[in-house]
Symmetry: C2
Subunit: 146 residues, 2 copies
Amino acid sequence: MHDLLTIGELSARSGVAPSALRYYERLGLISSTRTGGNQRRYERSMLRRVAFIRVSAQVGVPLEEIGAALADLPAGRTPTRTDWTRLSRAWRSRLDEQIALMERLRDRLDGCIGCGCLSLKTCGLYNHGDELAEQGPGPVRLMRRG
Amino acid sequence: MHDLLTIGELSARSGVAPSALRYYERLGLISSTRTGGNQRRYERSMLRRVAFIRVSAQVGVPLEEIGAALADLPAGRTPTRTDWTRLSRAWRSRLDEQIALMERLRDRLDGCIGCGCLSLKTCGLYNHGDELAEQGPGPVRLMRRG
DNA sequence: CCTTGAGTTGAAGCTCACTTCAACTTGCAG
DNA sequence: CTGCAAGTTGAAGTGAGCTTCAACTCAAGG
C-alpha cells in the first residue's frame, strides 16, 4: 500500500517507542526522509536496522558502538545481503564472547558461590585467593572480561 | 592478621570501588560494623555477597532485585552453605534463561538478520511478519522475553 | 607527637537511554 | 472543509548506578 513507514508504523512494527526512534535518529543510528509537511518517512529496510539495534543493545552494547558498526553499512543504497552478513559476522563473535562469559559466571556460581566455600573455608579457590595469595584475585577473578 | 576488612581492602579484593560499596550499603545490599572512630569494617563473608552482587548485576538484574534476593539470607549469622545453595539455585535458572535468550538472539542474527532477508525479501520470517500478518511480530519476535 | 594515607558524610554531578511536556502542524476520513 | 489522531520541535525530566567534591576525622608508621 505505502512503501514508506510513518514513525508510528515503524514503532508498532519494531516494538520501539516513537520517542526512542527519534532518539536513535538524533544519534545517527537510523535515518528518514521527510514529507512536504516535515514528517518522517522510513524505508522498510529501517526495520532491519532497528531490529539489529535492539538485539545489540539487549546484550549490552552501547548505542554509540552500535552506531559505529552501522556506519560501515553503505550510505546511499539499501544494504545488500553481503553488507549485513559482514556486519553480523563481526557481531556474532561478540555475542559468542558474551555468552561464554555468562556460562563461566553460571558455572562459578554453581561450583563456588553455590557451595558455600567462601564462608565455610572449604574451597580451593577461596583459600588460594584469600589466604595464600596476598595480591590474589579471589572473587575478582569471576568478573574479568575477555 | 585482621579478620575484619576495611572498605579499601574489600574494594581491592572485590574489584568494586569504595564509593560503589558505600552505595550498596545505603541500598542495604551489604552491611558493616563500625570502629570506635566510625569507620566501616566488613566481615569476610561480605566478599561473597559482593561477588554475588556483581555477577548478578552483570547479567542485568537490577540492584533492587538483588537486594530482595539477599534479604532471604539469615540476618544475624554468617550464611551457611545451605543458605547460599538455596539462593544460587534460584539464580542459576535466571542465568540459564538469560543465556538461552542470548543464544536465540545469536542464532536469529545468524540465520535471519545475517542472511539479508529483511531487505532482500527472501526470508520466511520477514514475509510472514511484514507482508502476510498485518499485526505480525516480524523483528519484534526477536525481542520477546521469557 | 606528627604526618600522611585512608576513611567519613551529604549533596551534587554524571552517563546512558530514554520519556515527557508544551505548543504547535500535518494528514486523512467523513 | 472540518475534526482529530498522529506528527513536529527543543528543553527538561527520569531512573539506575555510580562518581566526585569539600570539609573533615581516623589510624598507624617513623
